[in-house]
């Protein structure tokens, strides 16, 4: 038990916390702004702290404060008080735990020690995710049942039937992937995807297993109870579904849990199908070998990108009247951006001058891979939001048909095909 080990573990858990719990307000913001964009309106953009609006991000924190200071009410009609209180905790905890096995970066080598960059460094990977993603349905069913409300009960039964219908197809799609990768350890899976196919295509899951990718993404939407599979909430049919009777932070736990589950599903999709932390064509070894060149690229590209981003802010966030708060915000954002640029370039210039060393290179490569993973995760989350505001809700029988009569046979056929190809051609 040494100090580096403890630091690495704490950093890993902090990254996992940031990507799951910390991502929830950002995802709420993304959801609302994208909804505004798709419906040709602005979305939230008025809330501010001393003039700082950050494009409406402050609204998410205002909403969280609002939930904290709401009345924590439990109607007298509710008899099972303990079950009622524990249900949102189960939903949140299972979503949170399912996030913990996502690898953020390749194995980190410091000195003679090797660290696995996962929140919880175990090699169960896929099985751990399936176990805890499946557990969240208990929270939904218990919450809907304990609410003593017919709408809640309907919502939770629908959610249960939906999740178990789609979990079969999800795991079957996963099995064809496991045949390809030959491992359930997520780090092994991501490293497999770092290879090249025919010498020029990255061997990402989406290239190797396109059918499994489609099935898995569709079922992940259903597992996360997102539109078009949100019949469990269905606010136009059954009020609020399973969380009709909840208020204050009990509702907040359901709400945060939903976004954490969405983020966890996106993380698993990115890890399994889109190369995880791998940059295309740039494996860990390549990054380590040419790290000074990458530092030069960052030194050149960062001011250029910041300049373009700053111009975009100035174009969109400046008001003709001089005393408007928008001008103040723009001014401060630009100053902070210039300061950030200067600090990063100063650090990089120092390392370029004095050399970064083996340990430094390893840590810097890990940082680049975490950033890559974060960007991919955000893009996948954007896809979730995009689908939500594009497709209408399924009817229950359509959902059942899609799950049992289309996705299930397709995923079984995919397993037959994959196994025959893998064993027949010996790849």
């Amino acid at each position: 038990m040494n100090i580096i080990l403890i630091i690495v573990i704490v950093v890993n858990i902090i990254i996992a916390l940031l990507f799951s719990l910390g991502a929830a307000p950002i995802l709420v913001w993304v959801e609302r702004r994208v909804a505004g964009f798709i419906q040709d309106r602005l979305g939230p953009n008025r809330c501010n702290i001393a003039g700082f609006r950050l494009g409406g991000l402050i609204q998410s924190f205002a909403d969280m404060l609002k939930l904290v200071f709401k009345e924590d009410f439990r109607a007298g009609a509710i008899k099972e008080k303990f079950v009622f209180s524990i249900a949102p905790v189960i939903v949140f905890a299972s979503a949170f735990l399912s996030y913990m096995v996502m690898p953020f970066a390749d194995d980190l080598v410091i000195g003679s020690q090797t660290f696995v960059m996962q929140g919880l460094p175990i090699n169960l990977g896929v099985l751990w995710f399936l176990a805890f993603a499946g557990l969240s349905i208990y929270g939904i069913i218990l919450g809907g049942w304990a609410s003593n409300n017919k709408y809640s009960l309907l919502g939770s039964i629908r959610a249960g039937a939906q999740v178990i219908s789609y979990e079969a197809s999800m795991t079957l799609a996963l099995i064809s992937l496991l045949i390809t990768y030959g491992s359930i350890n997520l780090v092994d899976i991501v490293n497999f995807q770092g290879k090249l196919l025919f010498g020029f295509i990255p061997a990402w899951g989406v290239v190797m297993q396109p059918l499994a990718a489609i099935i898995f993404i569709v079922t992940a939407f259903a597992e996360a109870n997102r539109t078009p599979f949100d019949i469990a909430e269905g606010e136009s049919e059954i009020v609020g579904g399973y969380h009709t009777e909840y208020s204050a932070m009990k509702f907040g736990l359901f709400f945060v849990g939903e976004y954490v589950a969405m983020s966890a599903s996106s993380a698993l999709i990115v890890t399994l199908f889109f190369g995880g932390y791998n940059l295309p064509w740039l494996g860990t070894a390549t990054l380590k070998e040419h790290f000074s060149a990458i530092m030069w690229i960052i030194v050149v590209a960062l001011p250029l990108l910041s300049f373009l981003f700053g111009r975009w802010i100035v174009k969109n966030n400046v008001w003709p009247k001089t005393d408007d708060i928008r001008n103040k915000e723009t001014k401060w954002l630009l100053r902070m951006m210039v300061l950030m640029n200067m600090v990063i370039i100063a650090i990089l210039a120092y390392f370029l001058y004095s050399g970064i060393g083996v340990t430094g290179t390893n840590i810097a490569v890990a940082v680049i891979q975490v950033a890559t993973f974060a960007i991919k995760l955000l893009l996948m989350n954007f896809v979730f939001v995009w689908v939500r505001w594009t497709l209408p809700r399924f009817r229950y029988d359509q959902l059942q048909n899609l799950g049992w009569k289309v996705l299930l046979p397709l995923s079984i056929a995919n397993i037959f095909l994959t196994a025959l190809v893998v064993v027949g051609f010996g790849v």
Binding site: G76, P88, G119, S147, I164, A168, M249, F416
Partner: protein
């Protein structure tokens, strides 16, 4: 490796217990409960009298779906180890597993034919 797992899992267990407790504890910050008769009944579209019991029996279709899920999940549990080791097992593994899957597929076809999954 093992000490890393132990330390990480103990931190995560503490977090998983502490975060929901923190969230639920914020419920005390809100205004006090005002006892009102209308407020205390379950919210069912604003009808001021809750009609009937909500622990009613529900459609048997959901029960059938749950039964089928258990069936398929058991199948899938057997398939996980095979999927990881399919290269080592080779044709022997393929024949064994495909026989097993064919039996369950026959069951699935029977379920389709019996219209258990058709919503009426």
């Amino acid at each position: 490796m093992s000490s890393q797992v132990f330390l990480a899992s103990s931190i995560i267990v503490v977090l998983v217990i502490a975060i929901p407790i923190l969230f639920l504890a914020t419920g005390k910050l809100g205004p006090k409960n005002k006892k009102q008769k209308e407020k205390n009944i379950s919210y069912e579209s604003g009808v001021t009298k809750s009609i009937g019991n909500s622990n009613n029996p529900f459609s048997v279709k959901f029960y059938l779906v749950a039964l089928l899920f258990v069936l398929f999940d058991v199948e899938i549990i057997f398939m996980f180890p095979w999927a990881v080791d399919v290269r080592e097992l080779g044709w022997f593994g393929i024949v064994e597993m495909f026989t097993f899957m064919a039996l369950l597929l026959a069951g699935l076809i029977y379920v389709y034919k019996a219209k258990a999954l058709t919503w009426q």
